[in-house]
Symmetry: C2
Subunit: 216 residues, 2 copies
DNA sequence: ATATGTGAATTGATTCACAGCG
DNA sequence: CGCTGTGAATCAATTCACATAT
């Protein structure tokens, strides 16, 4: 069975949720698909279609209640619980992520920092202490870790991903500029700034006439 | 007008280019669409269709010459020149990017690091010295900066983007977890690890199992 | 009056089958 | 005979028009 909600829609739901959180903080109580679309960088049509794939949350004539819609999107996206996350690869990027102070605000909990280099064991990384990668399986079991940041160098990415999969991690955020292969049931999201630079190079290269590209 | 390439294809061309660079380094001289697809995480059909949108680079019966295809993809993607990049926002992430040692290897050159905080002016950031954001327009003009990493906090992202656009930067890699609005002709690529976490949460949320029908 | 929810139309992307070249 | 290049078919996503509910 294909996913209940198309991937493209899931990506936009995340954006809508952000806009709604900002609106709620600003004290706004209701919003129309028109304005939500404007703020999320898409169309009112798209907003209504996306929201309709997961329920009927609006009121005809007066739009959506910000608080209700925010709560419903959290539920749909699986964000009503705290997810525990590990970092694998404590180079510059892994360190920067460990230092990131706002995970709790997004309902994620950093629960482990791992590296294969024994020299890094015991070092501080934000609120954590770096452990050897061989200790990952026990941490996954004991701390309920279900996702990981993969922040190792590209040549090490596949091996590290294999370790994560074997340990039972089913969601990988891959920062390495390479494709990793995982079995069915394990999900990979790429975070690829070098690729982003190269796609920008193409866009600026004069191959396309002026195109609108609203950020997602 | 040169043939236009769909955005989805551009993203995969970047991946193919990476695979080809690795293969060339490993001394491999020829590759089939079958194996390139396997390594890039897609199908042989897709590889051939993608490559056909920008030329005829293969040889029937024996596949693609690695060196030739790599060179052609570089040309198509606009990677035959060095692109100069600035960093705007010298928090943890901006600092980590400034320290990244491999930009030259990808034919990008870091040419400026900027922040609005006067206290950060003069600090070292990798090979650069942090300047005040008000000096950005001169740097864009004098150093040929055409892209920027936007690594400011989310509430500051739109204002900073406006400064970049006014200074003439036409490509923005947006690391802030918010949508930014830019005029036609300016391109934005999002690098969104928090969004990635949330999309993983949805994927792991158990929506693959049978779900209860909504009553109509 | 106003703005949602949704079938229909359109556009875009992927998959396929096979013709055609080496 | 092997493997690319490509039209045709399938599948997905977006855009639109409007009926419908408040």
């Amino acid at each position: 069975m294909p996913p209940l909600i198309p991937p493209a829609t899931v990506g936009r739901l995340v954006t809508y949720l952000r806009v709604l959180t900002d609106l709620a903080a600003a004290g706004v109580e209701r919003i129309s698909s028109d304005e939500l679309g404007e703020r999320a960088g898409t169309s009112a049509f798209q907003v209504r279609k996306d929201l309709a794939t997961c329920g009927r949350f609006g009121t005809r004539g007066s739009g959506y209640a910000v608080a209700t819609l925010e709560r419903e999107l959290r539920r749909v996206l699986g964000l009503t619980r705290v997810w525990s996350v590990a970092i694998v690869g404590m180079g510059r990027l892994g360190q920067a992520l460990a230092d990131y102070p706002n995970f709790a605000e997004y309902d994620f909990a950093l629960r482990g920092a791992f590296d294969v280099d024994p020299a890094k064991g015991g070092l501080a990384a934000g609120p954590l202490v770096v452990r050897h990668l061989s200790e990952l399986p026990a941490a996954v079991r004991d701390d309920g870790i279900s996702m990981a940041f993969l922040t190792v160098p590209a040549p090490a990415a596949q091996v590290a991903a294999d370790v994560l999969v074997a340990a039972g991690v089913r969601g990988i955020l891959n920062f390495a500029p390479t494709v990793i292969h995982v079995p069915d049931g394990v999900h990979v999201e790429g975070v690829d700034f070098l690729g982003g630079l190269q796609r920008l190079a193409f866009a600026l290269g004069g191959h396309t006439a002026a195109t609108i590209d609203l950020g997602v």
